[in-house]
Symmetry: C2
Subunit: 243 residues, 2 copies
């Protein structure tokens, strides 16, 4: 059989999702005998840059197996944390205005819906921001001493992302809201005010699994690749491998 | 660009390699912007069963991208822990005689060398066995109360695996020897006398990375997929995305 694929497309929170306890690795482990989880995370990228590279990240099939011709069963689109950088602070070059972020997300979703009409496209909102921690762990020189991301801005982009999902009729994980339902979200879920701890990764994993299941995609709905050891007859193992 | 692939083919120690701290996930994280790490682990399988399913796990290209037509840059073959089950104990149905194990490994390597002459095929020996722990954590009913795997047998299969690597002129990770160089290997590296702890997974990851590097395959030798954030000009970011 050919295993179905699940693509993870996003920024650093996707690129780092195979670190220890990462949500991408957890998905790959969860689907270890059923689907391939393919990492397409690009640290620092916003939706403007994502749009520029979309055709290169997901090239059309070209006869061999090098392209991405076969429709994946699912694909996550997880951008916004960089778009939401404050425009007049130290990471301004990553900022994308809110209305353009919405347009870009629409364009990205349309690209996938046109390429792969059957694929479950799942949006994920940016996480909340711990501004104090963002001042303590700057990524670039920060002479102003002000956080380059704010939780309020992240919330606006999260709501915009939810709006796009609604307009496109596709599911969305509202990570910004979900995480803030826990009192110590800023310390338990975030390691530097933006990126995820193991617990934060676990939240993303569980939310993604839940959304996939709501859309009919779970371990029971995907064929298992080759007989499980529990289904192999100890008295005649080779019987399981007749074609 | 199309990312190169690294396949991980093996038994449960491969199938579980994307659990928290797993060696497969660590590889995927290490190569997060350069190569796709593809999981093909089948719990409980020995080399006899692996041979039966080889064509199904790695189907020839069939025009679309569903096959495995493009040569991966590397592929690990990690079997032997099940072949080495003691023939007259409770997991006897997984046992494969030593001479057949060698023949099977040869056949598996030949299959890949014929299919993909340029692919770096890496053998990994079975890990050492903690027999006391194997009695405490039985996988099947064990009325005899004897360990279904012994460290001595695992060592014989490990030496056979190293022999095959030598005969084929391909690299091998001697996990059986490497792990036993540490005094508390049985507690630190193994969680049930056979499968790996996070520390044990780390050993596999480091050994695999080292072998790949010795064979010329490392982060510097594989092109990065799209510009890194550090290489994007903050004053003119879009310049980086001109084709």
């Amino acid at each position: 059989m050919t295993r179905p694929k699940i693509y993870l497309f996003g920024d650093s929170i996707t690129e780092e999702s195979f670190s220890v306890g990462g949500w991408g690795a957890s998905l790959a482990h969860h689907f270890s005998r059923t689907a391939d989880v393919v990492l397409r995370g690009y640290s620092g990228y916003n939706t403007r840059w994502a749009l520029k590279v979309l055709e290169r990240v997901f090239p059309a099939s070209h006869g061999g197996d090098g392209g991405t011709g076969t429709a994946p069963i699912a694909l996550s689109v997880f951008f916004g944390a960089n778009d939401a950088c404050v425009p007049d602070r130290c990471s301004a070059f990553q900022h994308v205005p809110l209305h353009e972020y919405k347009q870009n997300l629409h364009s990205i979703v349309s690209f996938f819906k046109k390429r792969w009409p059957t694929t479950l496209v799942l949006l994920i909102t940016p996480p909340p921001i711990d501004e104090d921690a963002r001042c303590r762990y700057p990524y670039v020189e920060n002479p102003q001493g002000l956080p380059e991301r704010t939780n309020e801005a992240a919330g606006e982009y999260a709501r915009a992302c939810i709006g796009v999902a609604g307009e496109c009729g596709i599911p969305v994980v509202d990570l910004w809201t979900k995480m803030q339902q826990y009192p110590d979200w800023n310390k338990d879920y975030l390691c530097d005010g933006l990126h995820l701890t193991q617990s934060g990764n676990q939240v993303v994993f569980e939310e993604v699994i839940t959304k996939l299941r709501e859309e009919g995609l779970n371990l029971e709905s995907i064929p298992v690749d080759l007989p499980l050891i529990a289904d192999i007859d100890p008295n005649d193992p080779l019987k399981s491998f007749l074609q």
